[in-house]
């Protein structure tokens, strides 16, 4: 009996050992866009929107893309079936400023950055988190800017803009990020 048990255990160990074989840290590295898509979605968890943002509890949490969409289907994949505080996540693509409607996160593509003043003015008083990958976007009033450093994507956050929009950015998010504009560490 004891022998049988010992043999069984040996087999289990062998199987377990095979299963937990380390896959390694360097799996196929996702592209910059892919990462940014995930990040975009992740922001919904580290930023707090004012209570009156949603009219009803069933209102969707909208991630808007202004300009050309660098993420494509990957973003849709990332948000599928996801919810933020009970609000189903949806992705809406805006081709121009006029289309921009009620949305909680607005990704401003590099292509639209030239009109950033207009955009921000439009979004004023709306609790919309603005995100862009364009260089210097944060300095120009975009709340969060993706910046690539050492082939890693880093965040630059303009806390002032966010506060002005009535958004609270989690300190957790602020810690790894670079603060830009007023209140930034020089």
């Amino acid at each position: 009996m004891a022998v049988l048990k010992g043999a069984l255990r040996l087999v289990l160990f062998a199987v377990a050992g095979f299963m937990v074989y380390p896959r390694g840290l360097a799996a196929d590295t996702p592209t910059e866009d892919q990462v940014q898509a995930v990040f975009l979605y992740n922001f919904s968890r580290f930023v707090e929107w004012p209570a009156q943002t949603f009219a009803t509890p069933d209102d969707p949490f909208v991630i808007g893309i202004l300009g050309s969409d660098p993420f494509g289907a990957r973003l849709d994949e990332a948000v599928r079936n996801e919810q933020v505080n009970g609000h189903p996540l949806t992705v809406r693509r805006f081709h121009n400023l006029a289309e921009v409607d009620n949305c909680q996160i607005l990704f401003v593509d590099r292509s639209e950055i030239a009109r950033i003043g207009q955009i921000l003015a439009l979004l004023d008083h709306r609790s919309t988190l603005t995100v862009s990958q364009a260089d210097g976007a944060a300095q120009r009033g975009v709340m969060i800017q993706f910046a690539t450093e050492n082939s890693r994507i880093r965040l630059r956050i303009n806390v002032e803009s966010a506060r002005a929009s009535g958004l609270t950015i989690s300190s957790k998010l602020l810690r790894p990020a670079e603060i830009v504009g007023k209140g930034a560490k020089e």
Binding site: V20, R23, K172
Partner: protein, 801 residues
């Protein structure tokens, strides 16, 4: 404390320590177990809290793929130094960040992804490990792995152990102090009691009492114990007095057993009672069964004055009153606790002397009361029943001892008598044998010297022309013959058979002394000389000496013994003086003394006192111890007295003192006269030719006609033949001792033929016959051999006038 107290103390201590220890141990164990468990719990909680905080802080790092930040967040684990490793895994389970920096990844779980079920905390032997999900909102972003070492716990455990030891130590000390206090209260009475019992057991002192302590039930115990002690003390006291009485009884019995005479037995009994029981006055009364009287026999040494005062001195007769004494005479022990109440004369006499308690104990032998032991005390009611019992037992012992003393006396008497008669018989046997031998020798010597005596006498008388020298020689021969004859006759006399009854005769002491001195010459002269010692014997005889009435041979024997003893006392020689003297005149007070004095070793006091005892001798095998005893016997039979003066080294004088018999009679030797007989026809009968020839020769010279016949038979024939012829002999001289037909027969035949013919008997044994003057029948005269001519002539003249 005594050694017996230690075990109970120790046991009590051990019990207390054991129970304390067990309680303490169980409590400590429970406490430790509880602490251990709660500590585990709290360790887990703490780790969980920290992990959760850190997990929550690392969400952004995971969400925005920032490992540097994640590593930064993880450094927060520094807050807990026991956390040795931590790792962050992303949602796919890939390792994202580690703590501390540079941690070897081999030690970590390789993978922990979404839905990984390893969440939770587990203890291994050395570490506490846990997985905490990292989630933001409902979204799990990864897993946090933490590992904490258990040093904290072990440190804690060590602390607990220390605390347990400390607390235990303190608790035990406290327990010891408290229990000591309590024990003292509890043990004190027990130990006190134990001490008392030890005292009792070791010293046999039953007078001690355990003290009451007032503690718990111990007083009851102590009281019971004390009560028990009291009882033991009482019975011990009783036992003690019983034992002392028993000792006294034993002592008295022993003392009486050593004594053989009644007076000293009674004395020792009374003295012991006076000293040891004690009594105030005691006496012994003897009961005469015939005259029915009681006589005071002994009074205790301490009560002599009192006895005189109340008239109870020894010898006083005591009336037997109706009650007390008569009951005692009937064999009962009589106890009068207070004689004041008694009206009989004897008790009243005692009461008058202030003696109030009286016990009469009968002395009974063979159910006969022969005496009464009277014990008295001044205080009334002072004899306990135990003492009465003791007196009763004592009286039995005394009775027995007295009886034994009497028996002993009688036995001693019988024994002495027996020994005396045995001694006499022995002596007689010896003397008889010697006497017979001596008689034979004497007879032969007398026969042998008879011719010498006869011829010498005849020659001296008749031989004409004898030269002076011849006469001198013949005279010397005659004296020598006389001496021989005298010696022989004395010798015979000495060994003469003893008469069973002492026949007293008149004895001349001087003669006896001379005879004995002569006879013992070999002993005092020859034997010492052979040894080179010189005994100088001097006789100092008073003249005149009165005669004494006695048995001469006994006196001679006694003198012989005294001379022998004197010689024995002078092994290196000395002077031996034998003296006779007299005191008083011719009256009845006159006494005759013989003193034998030597210059020998003398006697010490003890020997002097005992030397008269039969068989007492200091000469060992050589002595018989009978010599002086015999002398003493002679002295008693002669109503004489014996005195011995002696001191060690001072010589000895033994003095015999006899009552004198009348006044001194000096018998003057009769003048020898020559008797001339008419010529006679004499028949001479003897078996010795020498004697016949010498007698015939000498008698023929006197002018007689002699017919000699050899032997008795021939003699009778000769006489009858002559008678038939009508020539009857005028006289017949015959020897007594002849073979076949002796002198007696010859005499008888002669008298049968001619009753008027005188017969003269010559005998070598004759001295006794002559002395006793009891000539045999038919013999007219007995003459001793050797016959003296003048005696023969006198006899012939007397018989044939």
């Amino acid at each position: 404390m005594s050694r017996s107290s230690t075990p109970i103390r120790r046991t009590l201590m051990r019990m207390i320590f054991l129970s304390c220890g067990v309680v303490l141990l169980v409590t400590s164990c429970a406490f430790c177990a509880y602490e251990f468990l709660t500590f585990r719990q709290s360790s887990i909680q703490q780790l969980q809290i920290l992990s959760r905080a850190i997990a929550s802080n690392s969400t952004a790092a995971l969400a925005f793929d920032n490992p540097e930040d994640a590593a930064g967040v993880l450094t927060a684990f520094r807050a807990d130094p026991h956390i040795v490793a931590a790792a962050l895994y992303d949602a796919h389970g890939n390792l994202f960040a580690v703590y501390p920096q540079g941690l070897a990844v081999q030690g970590l779980p390789s993978h922990a992804g979404e839905g990984y079920t390893g969440a939770g905390y587990t203890f291994s032997r050395t570490a506490l490990t846990g997985f905490e999900p990292v989630a933001e909102g409902s979204k799990q972003l990864g897993m946090l792995f933490v590992e904490s070492d258990l040093n904290a716990m072990y440190a804690r455990i060590r602390l607990y152990a220390l605390i347990v030891v400390l607390v235990g130590g303190v608790a035990v000390s406290l327990a010891y102090l408290i229990s000591r206090r309590l024990q003292h209260r509890l043990l004190q009475p027990i130990l006190a009691l134990a001490q008392t019992t030890t005292a009792v057991a070791e010293r046999h002192d039953y007078t001690v009492r355990a003290a009451r302590t007032g503690a718990y039930e111990f007083d009851l115990f102590t009281d019971t114990f004390n009560q028990m002690l009291t009882q033991i003390q009482e019975s011990e006291g009783k036992l003690q007095s019983q034992v002392s009485r028993l000792n006294l009884l034993q002592h008295i019995t022993h003392a009486t057993g050593e004594r053989q005479d009644l007076p000293s037995i009674f004395q020792v009994v009374l003295r012991s009672l006076e000293e040891n029981l004690p009594i105030d006055f005691g006496c012994l009364l003897l009961h005469d069964d015939v005259s029915k009287t009681l006589t005071v026999s002994a009074v205790g040494a301490g009560g002599q004055d009192l006895a005189r005062q109340i008239g109870l001195s020894p010898g006083v007769e005591v009336p037997i009153d109706a009650n007390g004494l008569s009951r005692c005479i009937a064999g009962q022990l009589v106890h009068e606790p207070d004689v004041e109440q008694v009206q009989f004369p004897f008790p009243r006499r005692l009461a008058a002397a202030g003696l109030r308690s009286v016990v009469f104990a009968p002395l009974i032998v063979e159910s006969q009361v022969f005496g009464v032991l009277v014990s008295t005390r001044r205080a009334a009611h002072s004899f306990s029943s135990g003492e009465c019992e003791f007196l009763k037992q004592l009286s039995e012992h005394v009775a027995l001892a007295s009886h034994q003393a009497r028996l002993h006396g009688a036995l001693q008497q019988a024994y002495d008598d027996l020994r005396q008669s045995q001694h006499t018989t022995m002596q007689q046997e010896r003397l008889r044998a010697l006497g017979q031998m001596a008689s034979g020798i004497a007879h032969d010597i007398n026969n042998a010297i008879s011719p010498v005596s006869l011829y010498t006498e005849a020659l001296l008388e008749r031989e004409p022309g004898l030269s002076e020298r011849s006469r001198n020689y013949l005279t010397t021969i005659q004296r020598a013959i006389e001496d021989v004859a005298g010696t022989v006759s004395r010798m015979r006399e000495f060994y003469r058979e003893r008469d069973s009854q002492l026949t007293l005769e008149r004895v001349q002491l001087n003669r006896a002394v001379q005879q004995v001195v002569e006879l013992t010459r070999p002993r005092w002269s020859d034997l010492p000389q052979a040894r080179g010692a010189m005994v100088d014997l001097q006789t100092d005889l008073a003249d005149p000496m009165p005669e004494v009435m006695g048995a001469e041979h006994e006196i001679r024997d006694a003198l012989t013994n005294l001379i022998f003893n004197a010689v024995d006392a002078m092994p290196t020689g000395g002077t031996l003086r034998v003296r006779t003297r007299k005191t008083g005149g011719a009256d009845s007070e006159a006494r005759a003394f013989i003193e034998v004095t030597d210059t020998g070793v003398g006697m010490d006091e003890d020997t002097r006192r005992r030397c008269l005892e039969p068989f007492y001798t200091t000469k060992g095998e050589r002595g018989s111890g009978l010599g002086l005893a015999m002398v003493y016997g002679m002295i008693q039979r002669h109503s004489a007295e014996l005195e011995i003066e002696s001191a060690a080294g001072q010589g000895t004088t033994v003095r015999l003192s006899f009552p004198a018999y009348g006044s001194s009679v000096v018998v003057a030797p009769k003048a020898q006269q020559v008797i001339v007989n008419r010529p006679l026809r004499i028949l001479l009968v003897d078996d010795d030719p020498m004697l016949i020839k010498s007698l015939k020769d000498t008698l023929q010279e006197d002018g007689h006609a002699i017919t000699a016949s050899h032997g008795g038979h021939q003699g009778i024939e000769e006489f009858s033949a002559a008678a038939k012829r009508g020539e009857v002999f005028d006289v017949v001289v015959t020897d007594l001792g002849m073979p076949h037909v002796d002198g007696r027969k010859v005499a008888a035949s002669v008298k049968g033929i001619s009753p008027t013919t005188p017969v003269i008997l010559l005998t070598g044994w004759g001295q006794r016959l002559i002395a006793a003057n009891d000539a045999p029948a038919h013999v007219d005269k007995v003459l001793a051999k050797p016959p003296r001519l003048h005696e023969l002539r006198a006899a012939l003249a007397e018989l044939v006038p």
